[in-house]
Assembly symmetry: C2
Homo-oligomer: 202 residues x 2
DNA sequence: GAAAGATAACCGACCGGTTGGTATAGTAAT
DNA sequence: ATTACTATACCAACCGGTCGGTTATCTTTC
C-alpha cells in the first residue's frame, strides 16, 4: 500500500469528530487509530503527544471558523452598502449556513474544549479565549459602524450586543445538540437578527 | 472519630465542582477521594459505580435548578398581577441571582454533561433532555399567558422565544466561564428581558 | 445494666484493564 | 537518503471496581 499524504488531516478530521461526540478525554488515541486505520507509530509520527493534537485541533478549527465568518461578511458586503443591511444579510447567510454546518459538525470545538479546560495546557486555553475575543471584535466593529449611522434610541452597550451573537450561537448549538433539534440554532440567529433591527431601525 | 452522616452530599459537592472544572471523564474517583478525604471503599459504599454518581449528580442538579427557578417565579408572582410584568420581574431576579450562582458553580452541569453525552448511559441523557424540556415548558406557559393579554404586533413563535431564554443562559454561562467575565451572563439576561419588552409592549 | 448482636460507615490492599507514550526493526515509494 | 508509514512489543501510570476487614454507634436480649 502506497503511503498517503493526507493522513495528518484525516487524523484531525477523526479527532474533531470524536471530540464533538464525547469530549476530548473520552477520545483515546486508539479510537483515532481505528477510525483512520493507522497504527500507533503512525499517529505519533504526526503528533508528538495528545496535547499536541489538541493544539493542532483548536488551531485548525479557529482558522476555519474565522475564515468562514470572514468570507460571509465579505459576501454580505458585496450585496449592500448600508452597514445595517450588511449585518442583517450576514446574519441571514449565517442562519442559512447552519444547516450544512450542523451536519458537518454538530457542535463547537471551542465550547467542547471549554468544558474540559483544566485538561489542557494554558496556551490552549489562551488560544480559545483569543479566538472568542477575535470573533467578538469582528462583530463589534460592524455594530459600531451601524451605530454611527443609526444611533439607537435606547442606550445600548455595543460590546454586550457583540457578546450576544456569540452567546446566541453557542447556546443555540448546545440546545440543538442536546435536544436533537437542528433548527434551534438558525431560529435563534433569526431572533438575534430581529433584535438588532428593532434596536437600530425601530 | 465518629462516622459522619453528610459524606454522600460532600462527595456530590466535590464531584460537581470537579465536573464543572474539567469535565466528567477527567474527574477520577481518586480526585474525589482526595477532596472529600475518604478512601476508595468509602466512595463505593455510597455509589455503586461512577455512572451511579453521574446519575445522582444530574438528579440533584435538576431538582435544585427547577426549585430555584420555580421559587423565583413564585416570588415574581407576589410582586405583580400582570403576566408580562411578572416575567420581567422574574428575569430581573434571575439576572441578579447570577452573581451568587456564578460563584457557587460557574457553569451548568447539564451543559457540561451534554458535551460528553456519549460517555453516559442513555437514561442520563434522557434525564438531561427532559430537564431542558421542562425548563422550556415553564417559560413557554408564561409567555403564552403574556401573549393572550399582549398580542405581539409582529408574528412571534413562542416556543422559539422560550428556547431563547435557555440559549441565553447557556451561551452566557459558557462565555462567562471561558472569558472569565462573570458579568456576561447577567447582561445577556438583561438583553433577553429587553427583547421581550420590545415584542410584547412596543 | 452489661454482654451480644446488628448495622452503617468506612479503610486500604489489590486486581484486571486501559491509557498515553516509547522503542525498534522493517518496508515501500519518491 | 528521506518521507511516511507498518508491525510488534513494551512500559509505567492510572483507571474503575472488588473485597475482606475494622470501627463506632445503636438495639436487643438476658
Amino acid at each position: 500500500m502506497p503511503p498517503r499524504t493526507d493522513t495528518r488531516e484525516r487524523i484531525l478530521d477523526a479527532a474533531e469528530c470524536l471530540v464533538l461526540e464525547g469530549g476530548f478525554s473520552a477520545m483515546s488515541i486508539e479510537k483515532i487509530m481505528e477510525a483512520v486505520q493507522i497504527t500507533k507509530g503512525g499517529f505519533f509520527y504526526h503528533f508528538k503527544s495528545k496535547d499536541d493534537l489538541a493544539r493542532a485541533l483548536v488551531e485548525r478549527y479557529g482558522e476555519r471558523d474565522t475564515s468562514l465568518v470572514q468570507s460571509m461578511f465579505e459576501r454580505a458586503d458585496t450585496l449592500s452598502d448600508d452597514p445595517l443591511e450588511r449585518m442583517l444579510i450576514f446574519l441571514k447567510l449565517y442562519e442559512e449556513s447552519t444547516d450544512k454546518l450542523y451536519l458537518a459538525s454538530p457542535g463547537c470545538l471551542f465550547a467542547s474544549f471549554s468544558y474540559e479546560i483544566r485538561e489542557f495546557s494554558d496556551d490552549i486555553g489562551k488560544f480559545i479565549r483569543e479566538g472568542f475575543l477575535a470573533w467578538r471584535q469582528l462583530t463589534l466593529s460592524r455594530l459600531e459602524e451601524i451605530a454611527r449611522q443609526y444611533p439607537p434610541t435606547v442606550e445600548t452597550d455595543l460590546p454586550e450586543l457583540a457578546d450576544m451573537f456569540m452567546c446566541t450561537v453557542e447556546g443555540g448549538l448546545l440546545m440543538s445538540r442536546t435536544l436533537g433539534q437542528e433548527d434551534i440554532l438558525p431560529r435563534q440567529v433569526a431572533h438575534y437578527r430581529r433584535y438588532l433591527r428593532m434596536i437600530f431601525r425601530p
